[in-house]
Symmetry: D2
Subunit: 434 residues, 4 copies
C-alpha cells in the first residue's frame, strides 16, 4: 500500500446489532492505538509517504462521512474536511497536498476527536434507523470502511515509528519494553532452507465473490499453473541478515537487481532500516524504543531490493504470490498480530511439519509485481480508485505483520508497496524451484 | 531495454563460413546505419538513457573483444576501452559514467572506425583458425554478440532521433522523405475493437532450450493458464489517439493509473512524444524530419502509462505478454522492419482473419511486468548480467518495430522498458476479456 | 538574517536591578507572543528557513544556558538540548538538522516552558549573586542574549505566519482583526518620488565601540564617501505595486536582474507573497487572517528581486545601506513596531519635511550586499559565528518592521537575507542619484 | 562573468585601417585558438556554464551580425541563427536553451567556419564603405564586439579544459607540455604575507568616460574612501595551498563562510579543481594534460569560498576591489597573458618593491560583491544587458589570467563570477588591515 488502503468487496457482517458492534469496536481500536500519543506527537509527518496520527483519525472518519452518510442526505460536519481529509479519490474532488498533512495544526487533535465522536453518533443512528433492505445495501460499504480503518491502524503505527526515529531523543511509543518472546530460540528451525515441498499444478487462487469480505484486488478467483517449488518453514532471521552483512552482501553487485544496487549504493545503505550500530553489534529502534536485537528474531524493515538480494545470498529466491497463497491456503490465519502486544516480530517457536509464521510477524515480500488478476474490474465510482489505479511499479506482500489488526488479513490478502519501501514491517521468506 | 540488450542462449549459426558471413553482415549493417551521420552527429547524447552513435559502435565492438577475443588470449587494442565502453557489466569491472558518454570526443569517430576494423580482422582470423570443437564452443557467445549488436542498431536510430529532436533546426537523419505507405488506408480495419477471439486454456510459452538462438529471458518454456480473451486485429492508430486527445483523455484521471496521471500532469504531457502542434492539427518528427501524420498510421512513441489509458479509453485493456505470445505463435514473424526502409510504422494494409501488424511497425506494450519465467536462472559470469538484473519496475514489449533489424525478433522475444519511456518506437494493441 | 541573529557588542545595561528587570521583561515578551498558539501550532515548521515556535522558545533559552550559565559552572538541565537547540554554532558542537526541527514533538511544549522557567530562575540567581566585577564581565553576553531573543521574537511571528499560510483553513494568529490605521490616507504624500535631497560627501557610518549595545556587524564606525542622492519620503505602497503588476512588470525582463527574472518566471510569481486573488482585486494573508489590502498601505513580503524591479519601474533604484543610514541618522528610531499591535505596515500619516516610515512598518531592502565593514573582526569563539560567517550572497535591510520589538533597532542596525526571501516583512523605498 | 561578457563603453580604435586591422586580428586569434580542436572536440559542453567551442565561434559572429550588420540593413545569413546563437539578450528575442548548446551538431563546425568568413567579409566591406561620420558612430559597437570576442577567447580555453577533464583519457589541448617557468623559484618572495603598505584615503577609481575603451561596469569614475591596508607582493602559491590542506583547512569550519563550508562539505571538496591525487602528492590537469604541480606556482581554480578561507588561514583577508585597483593603478598591465603560451600561472620571478603578478597568471578574487558603481546607468537597448543585469550574488575578480588575451584587461577591469565557480583561472592574493 504505497498510497494507502482500498476498494473492497463483499460483506461478512452478520446483522444490525453485529454491524453496530463491529463498527464501534474498530473505531475504538483506532482511538486506543492513538492514546499513548500527545497532541504534538499526533501532528508529526516525517515523510510524504507517512501521515500524522491525527490525519489518519480524521481521514478514516471522512471515509464514513463521505461514502455512507453523505449519500444518505446527511450533510457534512465541516465542508472543508472534504478537501483536507481526502486521500486520493479524484472522484470526490480536489484534495490537500499529501506532503503537507503535517502542517495542519488546525483542526486540532481535540477537534478531530470531536469529529470522530459526532460521526460515530450519526453512524449508529443511521445503522439503527435504516430498514433491512437499506441496511443490506449499505453493509458492503460499511465493511469496506472498517477494513479501510484497520489498514490505517497499521499505518498509524508504522508512521509514528518513522516519525519518532527522526527525533534524536528516540522516544518510545509506549513506556515499558515488552520482553515477550525475547528468550525464544529457533533451535528446532535451523536455517532458512526452503525445504518444504509443494507439488504445484493447476490450482485456484484469489477470493471468490461469493465468500466473506475481501478487497476487490483479491479477486476474481482464477486458475493458475504452478511448477513444483519449495518454501522455507520460517522467516529469514536477524542472524542470517547479519551473515549477509558480514559477507559484504551490501557491496556485492552480483547478489542484486541493478536498480537495487544503485539504490543501496546511492543511499549508503548497509543494514535494515531502524538498525543502529552499537559497537560491533546492532540495536533496533521500535515502538518500545531502542532495544537489543536477538539473532533468532525475524528480520524486518527491509526493502524489496534487500529481500531479493538476501534470498539470493541464501541460495534461493522470493516466492511468487501464487506460490505463497498456495502454501498459505491450508494454514490457519493466526499469528503474531497487533493484539499480541509484542509490536515486533517474534522468533519462530512452534515446530510443525509445514511453514510457520505465515501470518503476522512481518509482511512477506513476494517476487510478484502488483497486477490485476485475470478478469479484474474495479468498481464504478470512487471505490474503483481504492486499489486498481496503483497497479504499477509495486510488489505484492502477503501475510500481515505484528502491527496488523487481528482478523484483518487472510490467505488471499494482497498488500503492495514500491520496491524501495522500508518503513513498513516487511520481511523475507525464501523459496526455490523444486 | 531500459538499460540495453543482453544475455542470450543457444546458437543457430550453421557453420564456419556461415558464421563469418553473418558476423561481417551484422557488423556492416551497423556501419551502414551510422553512415548518414557526421562525426559531430555521432557524438550527441541527449539523455542519460541514450548513447552517442559512436559509443554504440565502440561498445558493440568492445563486446566481441571482451567476451570472445580476450578469453582466447588476444590482448585488447587499448586497455582503456575496457573502462570507456563497458555498458553495465560489473563482472568486467568499473565503467565510465553513463550520462557522460557524450563528452568523449576522444577516441574520435575515426579512431572508433579503426577499432571496429581491427577487431573485425581479429574476429575473422579467430573464426578461421579455431578447430571445430573450439568453434562450436564459441558460437553461442558469437550469436549473443551479434544479437546484441542488432539491439544496438535499433538503439542507434532511437537515440539519434531523440538527439535531433533537441536541435531547433530539426535535422533529418536522411534526406528525402520516404512516402512509402503514406497512401494506404485501413478501410477494411475499422476500429481497434479487440474482436479476435482466443480460447485460452493451459498452453506453453517461452523459448525452448533445444531450439534456435534466444535470449535467456525468453526461457524456460513453461506452462501457463490463460482465460479466453479477445485481441484487436490491428494497432491503435493516430486517428484513435487524436480522439483520445479530443475527448480530454490526458486530463481525465479515471482513465489512468495513478502514477501515470501524476507523470502526465507534472510534465504537462498532452500528446505522444515527437508530436508537434501545427495549427489545429499535428505533425510528427521522425528520421525523415518533420512530416504530416496520417490518421491511419499506428500511433507510436507513447509511454506505458499512455498506452494503458488509451486502451481503457477504447473500452479494453492491454494484453498480457502471455496472451500476446499465444496469439503471435502462429503468425509468421514478418513485417515492417528496418529493411523496409520506411523507418516509421505503416498503416495496416492486409486483410486477414487474424491479427495483423504483430511483428514490426511498433513495439507493443503489454500489461506484464518484466519478471523471470518459472525456473529462470541467469548464466554464470558476465553474461548473467545481460537480462536478469533488470527484472523490476519494467514492462514487457513484444513484436519489434520499424527500427528493428529483420530476423531479430520472434514470438518469444521480450523487450522491456520503464513505464515512462517514450523515445522508443512503442505503440498499442487493445485486448479484452472474452 | 537568513540564518538567524547574532554577534553583538557593548552593553547598555544600567545596573544589577535593571539587568534583572530587562532580562525578565524580554523573556516574558517571548512567552506573551507565543501565548495565542496551541501546542500543535508551536510545532509547525513549514520551510527549512522557518523554525517552530517551540524551538525558538527553547533555542533562546539554550543561548543563556550555553553562553552564560555553563561557563560559570552551572550544569545543563538536559545535556541533549545542547544538540537539539544549537542553531549554527560549530564551536559548540554538532546540532540537529535544521529542516527537521518540526519533527521534535519531544521535548513537549510544556517541557520547553518548564525549561524556560528553570533557566530563568538560574539566571536571576546568577545575576543576583555575582559580585560587581563578575557582573560587569557578564553584561555584554547578557545584552547579546537579550538582543538575540528579540530577533527570535520577530522570527516567531514571521514563521507562524508562513506556517499558517500552508493550512487551507488560513487560521489567524489572533482572533479579532485590528483595524488600526486602515482609514489612514497618504493624501499628502503623493508618489514614491525620491524627492528628498541628501548632499553626500565624506561621512561616517556604523556603530562606535564606545556607545550603546550594537551587534558586531554594525561596526567599526568608518568613513565613507557618498555622492548626492535623493530618497523618497515614504515607502512604496500597495497601490504602486498594483500599478507594477498591471503594467506587466512581472513579465518585463528589462526591469529585472537576470537572476531575478529567472526566479520569478520559474516560480510563476505574479504578486508579493501572501497576496491572494479575489476577483479583480487582491486580499492579503496576515496575522489577523485574510483581509483587504488598502492601496495606501506599504507593500511588504517582496523579495530583493522584486524590490529592485519595482524601484526601477518607479524611475529610481534602491538606496545603498550607507545612503539609508546617512538619512536615518537624524531621525528618531520610533515607528510602527510590535508594541503598536498593528502587526502590519500602516499607511504613512505624518507630514514631515524629511522621510517618514524609516523605522518600523517594513524592513527596507538596500542595494548593498552584506559585507564586513573596513576593519571588521568577528569576536573570538562562538560569538564570532553570530554574524561574520554569513557575509556572502545576502542583502542588507534596514529600519525594522511592524513585527520588530520596540527598541530593538537603530540607525546602524543591519539585517540581512538572501535576495529571494519573501516571508519576512520586507518592503521598498526608492532612491535616485541627485 | 558567470553569464558571459558584456556592455562596453568608449572606443580606442584609431582609424579606418586600424579598425579593419584590429577586427581581422581578433577574429583570426579566435580561429587560431580553436585550431587544435577537432570538430568533435568543438561540440563538447560539459556543464550548463560552459559552451562548446563551436558555439563561442558562432555567437561572437552573431554579435557582429546582430548589432552591427543588421541595423545597417544587411540581412542575416540564416535567420535561425538569431535564435541559436543569442546568449542572453532578451531585447533580441527568444533563444536556445543554454544547457543544450552541446546538442547542436548542426550547423556543423565547417558551416560555422563559413558563417564566420562570410560575416568577416561583410564587416570588412562595411568598414570600408561607410563615410567617416558613419564609421565614427559605429566604432563603439565595433570595439565592444571585439572586447566581447576576446572574452569568449578566454572562455573557449576554460570551457575546453573543463570538457577534457570529463574524459577519462584526459586529452591535452596541445601536444607538447610547455616547461616554461617550471624551474623558477620564489626564493626572494617568502610567504604570502601582505607586507606592502598602501596609505588609503580619499581616492578615485573606475574608468573615466573620456578615456580609452572600457566596459560600462567600469564606470563612472568616482571617489571612494579607503582605510590604510597591506597587500601581499605575490599570489598565494601551491605550496601554501598544500599547507592549508595539510592543516585540515577544508574541515575546519572556523576558517570558512557558512555557505562555503556547506558547499565544500556537501561536494566533498578537498583540493582545488583539476588537482589529482598522485600518491602522497598532487598532479594538476591543464591544457597540456596532466602534469606535476610545483610548489612555487600560484594556486588556481579555487572558488571564492576557498579563496576566502585560505586568506583567513594565512592570517589575512581578500582585498576589496577598490584596494586592488588602488594598488594596481600604478602598475603596468603586463604579465603572463595568453601570448606567453604558458597557458598556466607561473611562479613569481621578478623581485620588485611593489606587488608582482597583478596582471595575468590568475584572476584574483576580491571580497567585493559585484555592484553598480555610484551613478552607473546601463546603456539603452540590448547593450544595456551586457553587464548590469548580472549585478547580484557575484564577486568581482581583477587582473586577468594566463588565458586572457594580451591587452584585454586594465586596472579598472571588473570580471565577476558566482562564489562557487572553480573552472575559471581564479587565484588568491592576501590583504590585511594596516
Amino acid at each position: 500500500m504505497s498510497q494507502e488502503p482500498g476498494g473492497g468487496g463483499f460483506s461478512g457482517l452478520p446483522d444490525r446489532a453485529g454491524a453496530i458492534h463491529r463498527y464501534l469496536a474498530v473505531r475504538a481500536d483506532t482511538e486506543q492505538l492513538a492514546s499513548p500519543l500527545s497532541e504534538e506527537d499526533q501532528l508529526l509527518q516525517s515523510s510524504p509517504l507517512c501521515s500524522p496520527t491525527k490525519w489518519h483519525r480524521a481521514h478514516t472518519t471522512w471515509f464514513f462521512e463521505t461514502f455512507l452518510l453523505e449519500p444518505r442526505g446527511i450533510a457534512p460536519i465541516d465542508p472543508r474536511y472534504r478537501f483536507l481529509f481526502n486521500s486520493y479519490y479524484d472522484a470526490v474532488g480536489p484534495r490537500h497536498a499529501r506532503p503537507k498533512r503535517g502542517l495542519l495544526s488546525r483542526p486540532t487533535a481535540s477537534e478531530v476527536a470531536s469529529y470522530r465522536r459526532t460521526v460515530d453518533g450519526r453512524m449508529v443512528e443511521l445503522l439503527s434507523s435504516l430498514d433491512d433492505v437499506e441496511l443490506g445495501a449499505l453493509l458492503p460499504a460499511l465493511e469496506l470502511g472498517l477494513a479501510h480503518e484497520e489498514q490505517h491502524q497499521e499505518l498509524m503505527l508504522t508512521d509514528i515509528l518513522h516519525a519518532f526515529h527522526e527525533n534524536p531523543l528516540l522516544p518510545a511509543y509506549r513506556a515499558g519494553t515488552s520482553k515477550a518472546g525475547a528468550a525464544a530460540t529457533s533451535a528446532a528451525l535451523d536455517g532458512a532452507t526452503p525445504d518444504h515441498l509443494f507439488a504445484g499444478g493447476l490450482i485456484e487462487i484469489g477470493a471468490s465473490s461469493r465468500g466473506a469480505f475481501a478487497f476487490d484486488n483479491e479477486g476474481p478467483r482464477h486458475k493458475v499453473w504452478l511448477e513444483p517449488f519449495q518454501l522455507a518453514r520460517r522467516l529469514v532471521t536477524v542472524g542470517e541478515m547479519k551473515a549477509f552483512i558480514q559477507a559484504g552482501g551490501y557491496r556485492t553487485p552480483s547478489l542484486w537487481l541493478s536498480e537495487g544496487y544503485e539504490w543501496a549504493t546511492a543511499r549508503q545503505i548497509d543494514a535494515p532500516c531502524y538498525w543502529h550500530h552499537s559497537g560491533p553489534d546492532w540495536l533496533i529502534f521500535g515502538l518500545d524504543g531502542l532495544r537489543e536485537l536477538p539473532d533468532n528474531e525475524p528480520v524486518s524493515h527491509v526493502s524489496y531490493y534487500e529481500a531479493d538480494a538476501v534470498a539470493r545470498f541464501l541460495g534461493g529466491r522470493l516466492p511468487s504470490e501464487q506460490e505463497w497463497e498456495a502454501a498459505a491456503s491450508h494454514v490457519r490465519s493466526a499469528g503474531n498480530f497487533v493484539s499480541s502486544s509484542a509490536l515486533r516480530p517474534l522468533a519462530a517457536r512452534v515446530e510443525t511439519d509445514g511453514p510457520t509464521q505465515m501470518f503476522g510477524d512481518v509482511w512477506e515480500w513476494t517476487r510478484s509485481s502488483y497486477e490485476p488478476y485475470p478478469g479484474y474490474r474495479p468498481a464504478a465510482g470512487a471505490f474503483g480508485e481504492y486499489n486498481g489505479k496503483f497497479m504499477v511499479n509495486q510488489r505484492v506482500l502477503r501475510g500481515g505483520s505484528c502491527f496488523t489488526p487481528d482478523g484483518h488479513v487472510r490467505s488471499t490478502y494482497r498488500n503492495f508497496w514500491h520496491p524501495d519501501t522500508r518503513f513498513q514491517v516487511t520481511g523475507i521468506r525464501v523459496a526455490k524451484d523444486a
